[in-house]
């Protein structure tokens, strides 16, 4: 196709300006030369305001997630890949096979096009890896000072296979609680990046798409996985409390079985953060029938994103709905909901 624009978009030194969101020629050029170029797929290339597709038989799931993060680029990822992983994972936590993504960009006037391209390339690669192409989108530009560079909202649809019934309210006493890997990587990586904190080892975010891991797990035990949740903001503690509350049960987890990387642990100690409350972007919690726990664990460990998976505890009947943790010393502490920021309450 011949270039319809007089000059090519200057990605190397160009900046986002208000015309890029104005609906005119400049916007069309940005979409063509940046978004369509990198996201490149048939549905997008039709240049419609919507994507039209046929879905296989079954139940559809849909999920949406807005992404704002500082810094935009961090060890282990950037806002682009994060925006894909966030929605892929939310869809996958229903046991679904992801189908398509939609993306909305809010750009701040003056944002370097080079950075935007890096983000879009990263996003496209993440979508491709996850097998969930970005098939429709939208771009808006806000005046300088009214945005934080770039905000990305993604929406995804997926399809849940027959016989799979995964929901946060299905945990039952006796079920096993599995965790796919080490906790706290993402939150600490982001904090270190944002505040320019130096640790001995660079801590890398775990941002990743979990749909492949979920597919393997669902294939192994389609009817015996009751709950899946990715412990993002608020960390493992929040995810477990949510599940306990939704299902009306209690839980006991074992501190010594929760995987945590030594450098993350060390950083948390310096910062005084409890890793149970620190965000993850590539981990999942699975609650399954105890009988299939070992088998599922083996399946998870064979997947690249589940190498450190562990059975961390069990679901119990508890009218108080407490999530308890057996500590290394043998005591049982309550893992409470977080209340606002982590403020010390002990004297």
């Amino acid at each position: 196709m011949p270039n319809p624009y007089t000059t090519k978009l200057n990605i190397a030194t160009g900046k986002v300006d208000l015309s890029h969101g104005g609906g005119g020629r400049a916007m069309a050029q940005l979409i063509d030369e940046l978004f369509i170029k990198h996201f490149d797929n048939d549905l997008l290339r039709q240049r419609n305001d919507q994507a039209l597709f046929t879905v296989p038989a079954g139940r559809l799931v849909i999920s949406t997630d807005g992404h704002v993060i500082s810094p935009l680029f961090f060890p282990g990822g950037d806002i682009g890949s994060l925006a894909v992983h966030g929605t892929v994972n939310d869809v996958a936590m229903s046991g679904a096979k992801p189908l398509y993504l939609a993306a909305g960009f809010i750009l701040e006037e003056g944002f370097p096009l080079a950075d935007l391209e890096k983000i879009v390339i990263s996003m496209a690669a993440a979508a491709k890896r996850a097998g969930m192409p970005v098939v429709t989108g939208d771009t808006k530009v806000v005046e300088r000072g009214k945005g934080d560079g770039v905000f990305i909202t993604t929406t995804g649809v997926g399809i849940v296979p027959e016989g799979v019934n995964i929901s946060g309210d299905r945990a039952q006493p006796g079920c096993a609680i599995l965790l796919s890997g080490s906790i706290g990587d993402h939150g600490v990586a982001i904090m270190a990046g944002r505040e320019n904190l130096q640790f001995d080892t660079t801590i890398v975010s775990d941002s990743a798409a979990l749909n492949g891991l979920v597919a393997d797990m669902v294939a192994a035990a389609p009817a015996d996985i009751f709950c899946l949740r990715d412990p993002t903001r608020g960390g493992l503690a929040t995810a477990l409390n949510e599940l306990a509350q939704q299902s009306g049960v209690g839980m006991i987890i074992d501190e010594t079985r929760i995987p945590i990387k030594s450098e993350v642990k060390a950083a948390c100690e310096i910062l005084g953060l409890d890793p149970l409350y620190v965000a993850n972007e590539g981990k999942l919690v699975c609650i399954c029938a105890a009988a299939v726990a070992d088998e599922l664990l083996a399946v998870m460990r064979q997947h690249p994103l589940g190498g450190d998976a562990a059975i961390i505890g069990e679901v119990i009947a508890d009218k108080h709905g407490f999530v308890q943790m057996t500590t290394a010393f043998g005591g049982r502490r309550i893992v409470d909901w977080p209340v606002g920021e982590q403020l010390p309450r002990i004297c």
């Binding site: 505040e195 100690e269 500590t327 010390p344």
Partner: protein
């Protein structure tokens, strides 16, 4: 024939009150009747006027040991007697208003019974009567009748029943009455759960302890772990197994003479040890040495005397004191039931001395310490709860209030009919088992006192689990939620204990503790307040300093040292000037760049005026637990211990502190001079004990000076000293003495802990004052 109706309120049921009245009435040739009802004891007495008057005068003088008379009202009776003698008649329970007595140490009569080979209770470990024995520890619900206690499973034999029914017997209506034939049994098990074949499990236990074994002993309010306190290996093994490496162990000795071999016991301490509550009393160690790990690096020993026949019999056979520490893993609550103890203590104990009377309510041993001339409870549980505090005037009409207490050292409080009932020490609510106990205990107390809260008082820290549960309860009970500022609650608790009336003028206060949520969202802990029950004003406080890493700063004292130094000095200069000091070397080995960023950018480094962390900072500079503390207050306690021997000979540093004005006009106490002086002393190799003493003196001096200033400004000369930091004897005594010298009245807690264990009482009276004043204000003016 003249008659009088006598109404007596207080702790008058289940303590032998009616038999005492019966005896007394007979002595005075009276006829009539006495009975228990929902308000206490009611007497209808008839006789000649002189006998009646003498009888009434004698009642308070003859009250049984466990009784407490709060109120005695006499009215003329114009009915005629129903009987021709004096009778005890059936209880009329129409509402529950009367308090339950606390568990009490074995009385002299019961001790005589178990020591007498001809007595049928000879060596029987569950001997008790209306004057002693279990109460709260065995009750399931009110009224306090045998079938509502864990004695329900044991039917009385004819002899016991006879005693129980005989008003002349001191076991008349003793709900826990029993004997070897019909009562609970004691036995010994090994680690395989096998019952040991022995005639006398208690003397066998003594033998095992002498041989160096650790025995789990089911006591009155929970399980203990016991070993020979003179056996260094046994004590070290116990520490290792319990994973409790630092906190001192409690001790029990068979008599005061034995205690006196190891510690100084003054007259008041002696009285406290022999009190019916039988608390652990912290005594100054002196004399023979026990195993070093009993109380490592401490100058005190915590002793108690046997308080059940079981303990008396056990200790009879032991010359040396025994360690008697709570039977638990690490900081979990102590076990209370046999199966739990078999399971949870399986790695900790070698043998189990068990019995088959259930412990319904967990009660830890209470702890007291003599400070500033008074015995003060530091932990209030067995022997004291659920004793009620009669509140000063003004609280008679207060709403029913449930105060949820603090987070660590939690206790809660029920306020009703002008009385406050503070629960036993519940513990650290972050432990699941404690949290379950907490909720269970609240339910039990509500049932005991027929209590429905109209108002629920909580600490204003949103993260406190007690506050969160209080919010939930307030919703389900449709009660008014009253958040209370932490340090104001400490102030008010002290006022209530000292009988200060509701409408009394405000007092000044220095409230020093670890931390509590302030009204401005900052964490407070070194506070100078002006306040009454209803309101308070913050007149002064310590310089706010960051807590780098939040709660991590509580565990690692060096963080506070660094934050303080960084606030007052240029770090680079300091590092050069004092390069040789251990603390500077230690700090240099830490990730200071990260910490500086955290403090600078306020990353998990909230500002705090904490006095507890101030102590930690100075302890760490002297090398006391600089890296880490194992329990709350450990570093501050070490600083006090270090300073004690030389304290009297030292003085404050000159210009140690300065007072600035904050934007809001309050006085801010800052410490650059003190830091400079301490660093210089360290550089000049001054003895660390002397430095520790000078630090204490400087804090006392600053506190007294600021309080005297505030007193001059406000014209108020009553001063409350409270908060956990004042459990430091040197500080409490120095500040109190100097204030008294300048003519001030000093109030500090005695019967309720000055630490967070006393917080619920303060929350309750503040809520009462506020809710009542709202009601009064909203009433239309009377004409």
């Amino acid at each position: 024939m003249p008659g009088k109706a006598i109404r007596i309120r207080g702790v008058v049921q289940g303590v032998g009150f009616r038999p005492m009245i019966w005896h007394l009435a007979k002595q005075h040739r009276l006829i009539g009747e006495v009975w228990n009802d929902g308000l206490g004891v009611m007497i209808h007495a008839f006789g000649n006027a002189n006998d009646l008057d003498a009888f009434i005068r004698q009642i308070p003088l003859n009250k049984p040991p466990l009784a407490r008379i709060d109120n005695l009202e006499v009215q003329a009776l114009d009915v005629q007697p129903q009987n021709d003698e004096f009778c005890i008649v059936a209880s009329q329970h129409n509402g529950v208003e009367t308090p339950l007595a606390a568990d009490a140490a074995t009385c002299a009569d019961c001790l005589a019974d178990i020591a007498d080979p001809d007595n049928r209770r000879y060596r029987y470990p569950f001997t008790n009567c209306t004057h002693c024995g279990p109460r709260l520890s065995i009750i399931r619900r009110v009224p306090y009748d045998r079938n509502h206690t864990s004695m329900a499973e044991f039917a009385m034999c004819p002899q016991c029943k006879q005693e129980y029914d005989d008003p002349a017997d001191r076991r008349f209506h003793a709900q826990a009455n029993c004997c070897p034939d019909c009562g609970p049994k004691v036995w010994l098990e090994d680690r395989h759960g096998q019952q040991m074949d022995c005639d006398d499990p208690i003397s066998r236990t003594a033998e095992l302890i002498r041989q160096g074994y650790i025995v789990a002993i089911k006591g009155l309010g929970g399980f203990h772990l016991a070993c020979n306190a003179a056996d260094a290996d046994a004590v070290a093994r116990l520490r290792e197994r319990k994973r409790r490496y630092a906190k001192p162990f409690a001790l029990m000795a068979r008599n005061i003479e034995t205690i006196a071999r190891y510690a100084i016991v003054n007259e008041q301490e002696n009285l406290a040890l022999h009190d019916k509550a039988a608390p652990i009393v912290l005594l100054t160690a002196q004399g023979e040495m026990l195993a070093p790990y009993v109380a490592p690096n401490d100058d005190k020993l915590g002793f108690m005397l046997p308080y059940t026949p079981l303990h008396t019999l056990l200790l009879q056979d032991l010359d040396a004191p025994i360690v008697l520490t709570s039977g638990n893993i690490s900081d979990e609550p102590q076990c209370t039931c046999n199966d739990e103890a078999r399971e949870k203590l399986k790695e900790l104990a070698d043998y189990w001395l068990l019995h088959d009377r259930d412990i319904v309510n967990r009660l830890d041993d209470s702890v007291a310490r003599m400070m500033d001339g008074k015995i003060r409870l530091l932990r209030r549980a067995r022997g004291y709860s659920p004793e009620a505090l009669v509140l000063p005037s003004g609280f008679e009409q207060a709403d029913n209030i449930l105060a949820m207490g603090a987070e660590l050292k939690n206790s809660f409080c029920l306020l009703k009919n002008g009385q406050a009932v503070v629960s036993q020490h519940i513990g650290d609510l972050a432990y699941a088992a404690v949290q379950v106990d907490y909720r269970k205990a609240i339910d039990l107390y509500r049932q005991l006192y027929g209590f429905k809260p109209q108002c629920i008082a909580v600490d204003n820290h949103p993260g406190y689990l007690s506050a969160q549960y209080g919010k939930t309860l307030a919703e389900t009970e449709a009660a008014v939620l009253v958040p209370v500022q932490h340090h104001h609650a400490h102030l008010a608790a002290c006022l209530a204990e000292h009988g200060v009336a509701l409408d009394a003028p405000p007092v000044l206060a220095a409230i020093f503790d670890g931390l509590g949520m302030g009204d401005d969202g900052e964490l407070w802990g070194g506070e100078f307040l002006l306040g009454d029950y209803k309101n308070y004003t913050r007149l002064g406080h310590f310089q706010p300093i960051a807590l780098p890493g939040g709660a991590q700063a509580m565990r690692e004292p060096w963080r506070n040292t660094y934050a303080q130094l960084l606030h007052y000095f240029d770090w680079q200069t300091l590092q050069q000037d004092y390069a040789e000091l251990d603390i500077i070397k230690l700090l240099a080995s830490k990730p200071l760049a990260t910490l500086a960023t955290m403090i600078g950018k306020n990353i998990n480094s909230p500002l705090s005026t904490s006095c507890g962390r101030w102590f930690d900072a100075f302890a760490a500079v002297l090398g006391l637990h600089s890296e880490q503390v194992w329990y709350e207050g450990q570093a501050a306690i070490a600083l006090e211990i270090l300073a004690t021997p030389v304290f009297a000979g030292e003085k404050p540093y000159p210009q140690a502190w300065a007072i600035d004005r904050s934007e809001g006009g309050s006085s801010v106490l800052s410490w650059q001079g003190l830091w400079q002086a301490v660093l210089d002393d360290l550089k000049h190799d001054v003895d660390k004990a002397r430095i520790a003493a000078r630090i204490h003196h400087s804090l006392a001096d600053a506190t007294v000076s600021l309080l005297n200033d505030l007193s001059r400004q406000t014209g108020i000369d009553s001063i409350v000293l409270s908060g956990g930091v004042f459990q430091n004897r040197l500080l409490l005594e120095a500040v109190s003495e100097q204030l008294r010298k300048s003519g001030k009245t000093v109030l500090s807690p005695q019967r309720y802990p000055m630490n967070d264990g006393g917080l619920a009482l303060g929350q309750a009276v503040i809520a009462a004052a506020r809710v009542n004043s709202v009601q009064m204000d909203s009433q239309p003016d009377s004409v």
